[in-house]
């Protein structure tokens, strides 16, 4: 078994640099369009000590002194570039699961030399889309993710591709990696692991008593530890222990659909269902994609339309999402074709409660939270 995790380096920044390559050797950050907090930094901006989530106004002096370019988020563009990235990966990888806007797992078990494949993938994406990506390969998803971290940590040596070929290499990395870098552990859990069990490295987590981990924490932490030992616990399809970074609601219609009204009704339902899932995980979406297409088996009148909509502010409000979905649907709709499937995709989430208002941005609905809480019960 071998899995690869492929992700774009500083995706939003790299996307902006694609059309302004002359800024590549300068520090660049992307700010969220709602509250002006840093959501992406290139390496040079990281080197200046700019932190993720830092408000841009706090950084004003530093940004000016160092000629940092600040872009505001262009979520439609990022999503459309992400769609291309994933299409290329679909083309190059035997099996693929998309994790988030800039990240996907590939099952590379059948590939003779995964490292050579990884370098090929990196080069192809650089050539075709101008996006730098990292590739980490290991025998489980968690190891692949950690290999990816290593690939980027030692960029100069790895060229952003790392393959945990054998036990020795694996052990070396696990002994070095802080436990907080392990997939699904995060800062809060890593603090508790250190305080309660004295676990500070990935190696210690891998070798901890599984029952103890389950009792103190959760079955997921136990499984994460086993994955670090090379025992596959997270299945390839949709086994993410993390919160979803993309929510998809779509369905094939039982009966053929012709009219815009019918499609609108379906799309509103999808938006509402997606909104419920979004609220359940306490996220707000920045971007919505709506699509409708004819059956893949009726080549006669085939049509597939898709629109990406940047939401005016990060939201989990059913009304905002339904409105955006309908707006998009109306521009992609063509009368004539018999539609067989439609759907709504939410992406580019921020955590609920982490955003502060922007004086100049459109205001989120004021009663939204209470109303959505009520909707949660029905």
């Amino acid at each position: 078994m071998a899995f690869a995790l492929i992700d774009a380096n500083s995706f939003y920044c790299s996307a902006e640099l694609l059309f302004q390559p002359w800024l590549r050797d300068k520090p660049v950050v992307v700010a969220s369009n709602n509250d002006g907090c840093v959501v992406s930094r290139n390496d040079l901006a990281k080197a200046l000590g700019i932190k993720m989530g830092q408000p841009v106004f706090e950084l004003r002096g530093l940004l000016a002194r160092n000629e940092v370019s600040v872009f505001s988020s262009n979520y439609e563009f990022y999503q459309s570039l992400s769609n291309r990235l994933m299409s290329i990966l679909e083309e190059l990888a035997p099996r693929l699961t998309i994790n988030s806007i800039d990240e996907a797992f590939a099952d590379v078990s059948g590939i003779a030399n995964p490292e050579v494949w990884g370098r090929y993938v990196r080069d192809e994406i650089q050539r075709r889309l101008g996006l730098p990506v990292g590739v980490g390969i290991g025998s489980t998803k968690t190891l692949a993710k950690l290999a990816n971290w290593a690939a980027k940590r030692w960029k100069a040596r790895t060229g952003c591709v790392a393959y945990l070929r054998d036990r020795t290499r694996q052990e070396k990395l696990l002994r070095y990696a802080p436990v907080g870098e392990v997939w699904g552990i995060g800062p809060r859990l890593s603090k508790r692991l250190a305080n309660e069990l004295g676990i500070t490295t990935a190696w210690q987590l891998a070798n901890a008593e599984p029952k103890l981990l389950r009792r103190h924490f959760s079955a997921t932490v136990e499984r994460t530890a086993r994955e670090l030992q090379g025992i596959q616990c997270f299945p390839f399809v949709d086994g993410s222990p993390e919160r979803k970074q993309m929510i998809v609601c779509s369905r094939s219609f039982g009966a053929k659909v012709f009219s815009l009204e019918q499609l609108e009704r379906a799309v509103v339902t999808f938006a509402a269902r997606a909104a419920v899932k979004l609220r359940q995980q306490a996220s707000l979406a920045n971007c919505l994609q709506v699509f409708a297409r004819t059956s893949l088996f009726s080549p006669g009148d085939s049509y597939s339309g898709s629109r990406i909509i940047a939401l005016p502010y990060p939201t989990d409000d059913t009304r905002d999402l339904a409105q955006a979905a309908i707006g998009g649907l109306r521009t992609l709709y063509r009368p004539g074709p018999t539609y067989a499937k439609a759907g709504v995709v939410l992406s580019q989430f921020v955590e609920h409660g982490t955003i502060t208002g922007d004086l100049f941005a459109p205001k989120p609905r004021s009663n939204s939270e209470q109303l959505m809480r009520v909707l949660g019960f029905v």
Binding site: R84, S87, R127, R128, R293, S306
Partner: protein, 146 residues
């Protein structure tokens, strides 16, 4: 001649086929104008697929007018293609995209040629590597007014 990005192109999964209206003669009317050809898609024709490396850029300036590229034209640019001498390319020169024809001088050094007698070729400095962003495949020139 410079170029700027006009829109991030979002290819549809299923390109929209358009009827190809046969051949159009720029000389005298063709007697073969009648034959029927299957529908074509503009997306497919210019190479746009969901996974493609094709981007649309808006050209501005006059330096490529003899190559049929005029101020305001749309360029279909392939980012993935390796440029060959003779190709019209989008190159990164300073903080700009420039559109020129790629050539090699007597010493085999790359040279960017304008196609307008009023403009000089661009020669790069000693240690200045030429950065080609993409190769222009098509130019869309608007004929009718808005």
């Amino acid at each position: 001649m410079n170029a700027s990005l006009i829109a991030s192109l979002s290819p549809s999964l299923q390109p929209q086929p358009l009827p190809l209206g046969g051949q159009a003669s720029c000389g005298f009317p063709s007697p073969a104008a009648d034959y029927q050809v299957p529908d074509l898609s503009l997306d497919t024709l210019v190479g746009i697929r969901p996974s493609s490396s094709i981007f649309l850029l808006r050209a501005w300036g006059e330096s490529m007018q003899d190559a049929g590229i005029h101020d305001g034209d749309l360029l279909v640019v392939d980012k993935g293609r390796r440029a060959q001498p003779g190709d019209v390319v989008v190159a990164v020169i300073g903080p700009e995209f420039v559109v020129k024809r790629l050539a090699l001088d007597e010493e085999g050094q790359p040279l960017l040629l304008a196609e307008n007698a009023g403009y000089d070729p661009i020669r790069l400095g000693e240690d200045e590597p030429l950065e080609i962003w993409g190769v222009c495949l098509w130019v869309l020139h608007r004929l009718a007014g808005r």
